[in-house]
């Protein structure tokens, strides 16, 4: 995924001159104002449809809403952010970020819901330090309050 298009042969970089090159002609990649307004109208309609869908519970909400959101997302990215006309390198950055973000969201959802975990016991404020579990927490918690001698006793208390 970090592969920055190695398959594309020869980008001799631009010789180290940030400002001088590029500036492609404006008409080259970007559609006209009419197209932008058209896209906006479509976006407007989709948004209205999204709100409308929530008034009809018989429509399966999740798939309908997600489809429309992805559609809006794609339209804005493709036309307003010019990804449709611009280099695929830019799209690659967005797709990589999206891929990781969506992957993170889905895997967190799975990790937090698929496997039953006991609920946390109610925590009493400021538990007596040093009597907790003997692993990670012990030394750090005990250290917070324990004096020298008290601290020495800590490992035993955990045991």
């Amino acid at each position: 995924m970090e592969r920055p298009h190695p398959a594309q042969p020869v980008p001799h970089g631009a010789s180290g001159v940030p400002g001088t090159h590029a500036a492609p002609s404006p008409e080259a990649g970007h559609p006209g104002a009419g197209r932008y307004v058209l896209v906006f109208i479509v976006l407007f309609i989709i948004t209205a449809a999204e709100v409308a869908v929530t008034y009809f519970p018989e429509i399966p909400q999740l798939p309908a809403l997600m489809t429309m959101a992805v559609l809006k997302f794609g339209l804005i990215a493709a036309f307003y952010m010019h990804l449709r006309f611009d280099s695929r390198v830019f799209s690659a950055f967005l797709m990589l970020g999206l891929f990781l973000a969506v992957g993170m969201l889905l895997s967190f959802l799975a990790l937090f819901t698929a496997h039953y975990r006991e609920p946390y016991e109610p925590v009493v404020e400021q538990t007596q330090p040093g009597t907790g579990t003997p692993a990670v927490g012990t030394s750090a918690v005990s250290g917070a309050t324990g004096g020298t001698t008290g601290g020495v006793a800590t490992p035993m208390a955990g045991r």
Binding site: E2, S15, P18, A114, E125, V136, S139, G151
Partner: protein
Amino acid sequence: MAAQVAVPVPQQEASPLELRREWYGWQWLATVDHKKIGIMYIAASLAFFLIGGFEALLVRTQLISPLNTFLHPDLYNQVFTMHATTMIFLGVMPMSVGVGNYVVPLMIGAADMAYPRLNAFSFWLFFFGGIFLNLSFVMGGAPNTGWFAYAPLTERPFNPGTGPDFWLLGLQLLGIASIAGAVNFIVTILKMRAPGMTFMRLPLFTWVTLITSFLIIFAFPSITIALILLMFDRLAGTSFFLPSGGGDPLLWQHLFWFFGHPEVYIMILPAMGIVSEVLPVFSRKPIFGYSFIAYSSVAIGFLGFTVWAHHMFVTGLGEIANGAFATGSFLIGVPTGVKIFNWIGTLWGGSLRFRTPLLFACGFIANFIIGGISGITLASPPVDFQQTDTYYVVAHIHYVLFGGSIFGLFAGLYYWWPKMFGRFLNEGLGKAHFWLQMVGFNLTFFPMHWLGTEGMPRRIYTYFPNQGFELWNLVATLGSYLLGISILIFVVNAFLSARRPAEVVPDNPWEAATLEWSTTSPPPAHNFDAVPVVYSRYPLWEDRDPEGAHGATAPRTNVDAVSHPADDVAATGEGEQGAHQGGAAHAFHLPNPTIFPVILAFGLVLIAFALLFAPPVLKITFLVSGLVYGVVSVYGWVRQVSD
């Protein structure tokens, strides 16, 4: 043409180590030169590395004997937390960034980074952030929760001091610096390569820097969010990670390790890249399996995002999740093993010169194999259940981060030192450094495998006499003193090299193959007199012996200068491009030195202090002044850019 590039330009610049002339402070404070920034990165990270090493020695001294009372337990917690935080965020990472900063633009034939001012900003923010973190020792207590700061131990009810606040705000600053630096590297490597420098001709160190930068921009947001949520918990009364308010401490672990696991590759990949540069040079043969090394680095980077929960097997993720994450973790062993075989294949049959860089590179391979194998064992959930939070894990992390990253970085420092400063490091002292460090390192950390297997928990500040831990703790502590001495030898070596009278270091003292060796040592401010054109993966080697004739002791370079557009047209048939490049080479002007990046970084640190302080007067003073610094510097910066 080669000769043209090699001709040393009459230059006014003194060696960067000569800090006596006039007032150098401004030149360093306001510099936007990637070479100076790289050197500042390396110097600052070495200083933090010494601090972190001193903290490590304190920890080891406390553990030298059972029931030792050398350190107060609370101080012990602060010291081991700051040791890890310092080494990871202020030592290894910025040292890789510093070496990359210095070397990558030279390697790809560029005059500077893509955003020189942003580069300066990244450095100063890292530097101030590091000082901010270390100030915690004298401002109410350092962080004391371990470097991964598990909630809810970091929450206010359990940790009312300012330590965790320092930790989370400091890391937030360092995260901003890292992301800015990574964006800079990505754009530099994608955009600023010399003509002909294709991806398959990129030096491997540049490859891994690119991959590391991708890891940084995609992994750091996760810890940014974790730190933000923790900050709200501690400062605004939310309870994201506090079970009493409905929060879930496990979320912290997921967010943290989603960042934390790519982070370990962020630290090891640059060292792997350095080793991949050093080995061919000192074996006098091309790297074995170039594309395998490049693509396996990509594979490691990608897989690195899929295995974070192997740090959390004992949290009870369930068998399916454990199995999945274990599988991914085992898989990472494959590309890593591929690389190790490639390195060994590079050495195999080579005409080896055992100079200090090669010694460190070999030390890297040896230690990293051990660390890799203990990593494979830890990837297995049943083993991990037994070994987690024991000294076995401490042994593992040090074998990969010290035995791996630090050895690799020292290989890089010895290797590029003559390029950076125009002087060699002393070879005898370098060898002494290597052998002492190698012996000391293994003496310190190998026994920890046994200690961990015997059940000694990590982060415990003392132990009892009859537990069977005495002997190996003693050995480890003695080994750590050896390590300390070895690092001191390096420091002495560095100072001696600065004090010695200037020597004339040739452009390419190691007979290396990559572009940075085609310019003077140290390079002029603009790096190359003309933009080099690259025809192969080893621009300084390929033409070494074109007709099969001998006598190529001083290798001819195969670097064309594009100052001759006509030649270029003939060679490439792309007249327009060549002419454009040639024109651009001379049109390039380095940005003027500017102080605004420093001010902006300083303003951000002031805002961090504002969040830290409780008294309203201090809070408002710092917030307002931080914002003023920020606004003024951004305004000035933008004006400079648009002018």
